[in-house]
Point group: C2
Chain length 772, copies 2
């Protein structure tokens, strides 16, 4: 454990204790509710999600009363919601690109015109001021309105799909800030991406849609009540994140695969189909919208914006002798990618210390990064020598205006500045330039090297600012320049053209940083629109991921750890086979009787932060598990008895399942909000009809690894542990998400940390010594 | 229930009771082992697979004793096995295509030469005789050597991955017959495919590889012992089936997606990566092998064989007005596809009656189909009129030799027979002709209509013969002709060329018959090598699948039902929420004591066919569950005591986990093989160290739907049901796969069959009346 911090489970183990050891959080002994710090925001409590089918009398009655029409309506509305999500996401994606291309384009046009008039200082000042203003705007709205919108959002959505409900990540506020902030941040020439924010936007839209709109303004539909549970929401959020990638890269199949490979923790074929339907809607609508722009009605949008690199429409041929350089590119890319992750982690940790100090510090940091970026982007091209325009090029040289391979910058007519063609452009255009074919002589080795190094470090220092910024595009542009560099160094010994090397370089860095395989492969193919690349891209991805896996985790896992999101892996750590579940449960247990005194319930709810309580009947047998939220709803309804009696069946009929349905995100009621008289506190309440009578249980001698399989496989929030022998209390404890966290287990059993059961991972002492 | 047959669970419920109600099987009251009829083979018992982590003392001890080196070795060998599978599958795939192209090619060359010499009758006789001979050979080796190799094999592999171990489907014998038989069957011009058999071949190779080769000949490696469990085998078989599709269609990404979407019942991201590695190996090696053939060293193989249709390297443009015809194509394709499934089901049922009668009938059926096919293929082109060769074609017309768009057949020089260009060709070449661009005037409407109808019915009557034949290619060729027909009928009102319509037609029929989405989409894109098609292909697939889903199930589910393979769906039927698990368990329970008399065990094993027995300790508490196979291993070891005593720890050390490891496929030992003396029968054996002490349990009041989530989610073979109240036997019953089968449940509770809880599916009375 770092910094001497160890998980101490005080009292009843609870899922809310999934705390972030790195952030040194306050914990009080009387409350197990823990806090996480969303980077750049105030600490908030996190909740777990429950994908278990809760079987109590009220829900059962509701299910039985559903008519065939209602079931049909439910099935239809699933598809309608997916369709709506697809349409909204594609509209936002289109609008996003339109805005970025026009804002950034206008900025470059003005600056270029100044430079044509030889007013270089004015050009720089305008450039830097525009960038600073945009960055400041993005940072301000994020800090003041929705701190949850900071960063790419992919780690939060991934954690949500794993069962961790970070607060307010799917609020309308967050959505708005995410969209506007992302446009401003990307337009400000920061080395940040828009793909990650698009994924979060898609997920947000899905979550808001299934909630039936804005609850605050009463805009909800009654027929959406069937979606008031975590399972349905999870499914829609998965579809939404697939739609996000589809809109960002115009890659519908890649979007589905991304959602499956990287985002989703649970998945089934039926969901694949729905996600595919959503991304198909996005792809078709986006194509239609882009077509309407072909006539030039969209300002500077042109045909681009939505990246679609036509790397090579000619046939690509490659042979066995091209494999060794590609392998080498993969290996070095793998090392570079893991180094990237490592450095990014360190920088984020450092930034976190700054951002914690207050709003002013956050803004100062963002401004510093923006000014640094402006200086580098405007300054570095001056070091590159002007190159004469090639005679046989198909496009005008130098390119006056915004896009194109040849930027004039400070050069005399008939010459171009190759470094400015990369730096003085949007990232999308820089990638297009790097991916373009038949341009092997266009760039100088030194220029590409400078560009690569600058991008590598700029993207690392840019990600941590408090604004909605992504990682995908910066990694692609860095990787593409790396690939070009390899191509230039290998020279004519290879048959492959340098545009192809750039694609492979992008693949290697993406693979090494994000550790996806199939989805990245498909996204790259859909981007470059050339299937003949497939075997080489596959090879590079496999090699770079394998190499990088030997060093550290993927970038999103790293950020999740930093944010303290308790992500539950599918795979059990080897030492979990050595422990039984009773080794992991700890603390005294709080149970209720089947018919319980109201005062006892209120006391327990106030005193503890637990979300589930076992219900015991006489003679000691386990009746079931009751959730905190259901107890609170029950207390609100005040169906109390003066004597300990069972509730009448007719009384149950007064309750509808919607009383117990999960409220929207972050709207859970609190025990403190319920006022009860002294008299009511002395009354009894029958918990039976509201108790989940068939919770999943495991025997105390089961290994933790096996229990994890169940917990993770079904998506549980609480797992009851029952005793092996008879004559004891019929429940030994409750396992929650936090009990399966390696930090918790290694905290309880420190001797395991150094044992042979730790995960196999290479540790190079030199690497550790220099960089740790 | 059909035919008055109802599932009667006699005694203990057991997973081996997953019988096929349609095949009217014999069941004796004393034995619950059931039989399934692999179509065209002798009935064999089926087994379930167990993906649960079995935790008994012996396995635990083995796990603890593993060194870090052994864990590393295990991890490495996983990847090495995937690599080996990839290489072997690609070699077989290449060899397969080489053989088919050469055999079929030679046949067509000889026949064509005869026809050039105007010896039409001889040509027909040679053609028919060659076809008959090849069909006969395929049918004979299948019937006599490996009846399990009949059909495509995809349903069996899919069932295996769901946890159903049909006997001998992964034997070396089956593999050989599958490869050789598939070559013969496809070469014989039957309207059958080679993709399905390739999937089975891939799965077979994976299963044999992880078994460490041929057990019979002692070719096993000790370090493969870690793969001796169902989980590891399942993972490798999944990778193998992905490799199969990758080799059949040169579609590595499509292969992975196919394995995920259609085949696998359990899946996780790590497996995705391994499957991707396997298919990448296949793709790269296959490309290398095909390149070596470019110089013409492979006989008639040429560049083709492995289908790679270059439908359009030109830009495809389409607009909003092209959507309605495409939608129409999707809807009609959906109806045609569901009709296809329906008819195929009927024909298979009918063929089953014939095939059951004996080997002679099987062969007779195959020969009839072959002769019918030969007559149609040779006869129908005579009805087409000869068309003059187009002036502006790039290839020679008429094509003399094997491949090409213009077949001379009976026409005079300078003319070609368009129907012969489709019929008198391998299926691969017919598809290539249909998919080719700029050939809108090449085919006559009537010709394409005749071809479509013939293919539709020929593929239905061909699939049921006892030979290794697949469905993929016939559906593609039928769909492609359907698409061409739509293109011809719509004519010039659409911007789309007819080759494109053919691709969309193939997509619609595939989607409607196999009901896959993402994987089919990617396979088609990888086949046609054109990503611009993507939105249209997605649209067609979505529409046709939706339409077809309203009528019936996908083709593989249909075949699995016919074969009586108890496939467990993820999705619980609505009525399962109305039933508790105690409604599904039935019959008296057979339990053992912790220390049990040998005679009792032998008696129970002989008397019942059960595969799992609860072990009870005094005072009545549930100790765990012991498997039949472990009991048999234990009896073989004869670690008995004269008095009821606990086994010493040192005695346990004499047992190694390999004694209890699952033997290879179909090599399980039987209780009858173990000889025990009268004296030994009177001795005691301590079951504790060999009992799985932490089986998964559910409480008897849990709904069946919720229990299914657990059973299916974890991949269990046995699920123990424990009582809600105390003072009873600590186990109420055992749920196995068969208890979750709708046939079983509806048999126990017939009133549910007509209730509103039945699955929502349109029922058109006309459809039922005419076709049922």
């Amino acid at each position: 454990m770092e910094n001497g911090y160890a998980y101490v489970s005080n009292g009843f183990p609870d899922e809310e204790s999934g705390t972030a050891p790195l952030l040194r959080l306050r914990r009080s002994a009387s409350n197990t509710t823990s806090q996480i710090a969303i980077i750049g925001s105030n600490p908030c409590p996190i909740e777990s999600l429950d994908y278990e089918i809760i079987e109590n009398d009220v829900f059962k009655q509701d299910w039985r009363s559903r008519s065939k029409f209602q079931i049909f309506q439910f099935l239809c509305s699933k598809w309608i919601l997916c369709f709506v999500i697809g349409i909204v996401v594609s509209l936002i994606g289109f609008f996003n690109n339109l805005a970025i291309e026009n804002i950034a384009g206008e900025k470059f046009v003005i600056t270029s015109n100044m430079m044509l008039a030889n007013r270089y200082l004015t050009a720089f000042l305008i450039f830097a001021a525009a960038n600073l203003g945009l960055t400041l705007f993005a940072c301000l709205i994020t800090t003041l309105i929705a701190p949850e919108a900071a960063g790419s959002g992919i780690p939060e959505v991934k954690a949500y799909l794993n069962g961790v409900d970070a607060p307010a990540i799917f609020s309308f506020r967050t959505l708005l800030v995410k969209i506007v902030g992302s446009i401003a941040a990307v337009s400000s020439s920061l080395n940040v991406g828009k793909a990650g924010p698009m994924v979060h936007t898609g997920a947000c839209i899905a979550a808001l849609t299934c909630q039936g709109g804005l609850k605050k303004y009463g805009l909800t539909w009654r027929w959406l009540r069937f979606f008031n549970n975590d399972r349905e929401r999870r499914d829609l959020v998965t579809c939404g994140s697939a739609a996000g990638i589809a809109a960002a890269f115009r890659a519908p199949v890649g979007g589905v695969l991304f959602a499956f490979e990287e985002m989703a923790s649970w998945w089934r074929s039926a969901l694949l189909w729905r996600a595919f339907f959503t991304t198909a809607t996005v792809a078709i609508l986006l194509r239609g919208l882009t077509d309407t722009c072909l006539s030039g009605k969209c300002g500077l949008f042109g045909t681009g914006g939505l990246i679609m690199f036509d790397v090579t429409s000619v046939d690509i041929t490659y042979h066995l002798e091209d494999v060794p350089p590609v392998l080498l590119l993969g290996v070095i890319g793998g090392i570079a990618g893991s180094l990237y992750n490592f450095l990014l982690g360190k920088v984020l940790r450092f930034y976190n210390l700054i951002n914690e100090k207050g709003t002013a510090y956050k803004i100062l940091l963002a401004c510093t990064v923006s000014i640094l970026t402006s200086c580098l982007l405007f300054g570095l091209p001056w070091f590159a020598s002007c190159r004469p325009c090639p005679a046989d090029t198909s496009e005008p040289c130098p390119t006056i205006g915004r896009s194109g391979n040849y930027k004039k910058f400070q050069c005399q007519p008939g010459h171009y500045n190759d470094l400015a063609s990369l730096f003085f452009n949007t990232n999308d255009d820089a990638i297009k330039n790097l991916f373009s074919k038949d341009t092997d002589t266009e760039f100088d080795r030194t220029s590409v090297l400078i560009f690569f190094i600058t991008c590598f470090f700029l993207s690392i220092v840019s990600y941590g600012i408090v604004a909605p910024v992504g990682l995908f595009i910066p990694v692609i542009v860095t990787g593409a320049s790396y690939g070009r560099l390899v191509g230039l160094l290998i020279g004519s010994t290879s048959n492959l053209n340098h545009g192809l090397f750039a694609v492979l370089g992008a693949a290697s860095l993406l693979g090494a940083s994000m550790r996806m395989t199939v989805s990245l492969c498909v996204i790259l193919l859909e981007l470059t629109n050339n299937l003949l690349l497939l075997p080489l891209v596959m090879l590079v991805l496999l090699v770079s991921k394998t190499v990088a896996d030997a060093f550290n985790h993927n970038i999103y896992d790293l950020i999740m750890t930093l944010k303290g999101l308790p992500y539950l892996e599918t795979h059990a750590e080897p030492y979990m086979r050595q422990l039984t579940v009773s080794d992991a449960v700890s603390g005294p247990l709080h149970v209720f009787n089947g018919i319980e005194l109201v005062g006892n319930i209120v006391h327990a709810l106030r005193k503890t932060g637990h979300n589930g309580f076992p219900v015991i009947d006489e003679p000691p047998i386990l009746y079931g598990l009751i959730l905190r939220s259901h107890l609170i709803s029950l207390l609100k309804k005040k169906a109390f008895h003066r004597t300990p009696t069972l509730t009448d069946v007719n009384v149950i009929k007064q309750f509808s399942s919607s009383d117990f349905a999960k409220q929207g995100f972050g709207n859970a009621e609190k025990i403190e909000d319920i006022g009860l008289t002294e008299e009511e506190m002395e009354m009894y309440v029958d918990l039976h009809p509201f108790t989940n009578a068939s919770p999943y249980t495991v025997v105390e001698t089961m290994s933790l690894a096996k229990a994890l399989t169940l917990f993770r496989g079904i998506g549980l929030r609480h797992l009851l542990v029952v005793p092996k022998t008879s004559g004891r209390l019929p429940v030994v404890g409750i396992l929650t998400r936090h009990d399966f966290m390696p930090e918790h287990i290694l905290g309880l059993h420190p001797m395991l940390a150094g044992s042979k059961w730790k995960r196999l991972r290479f540790r190079f002492s030199l690497w550790d010594r220099f960089f740790s």
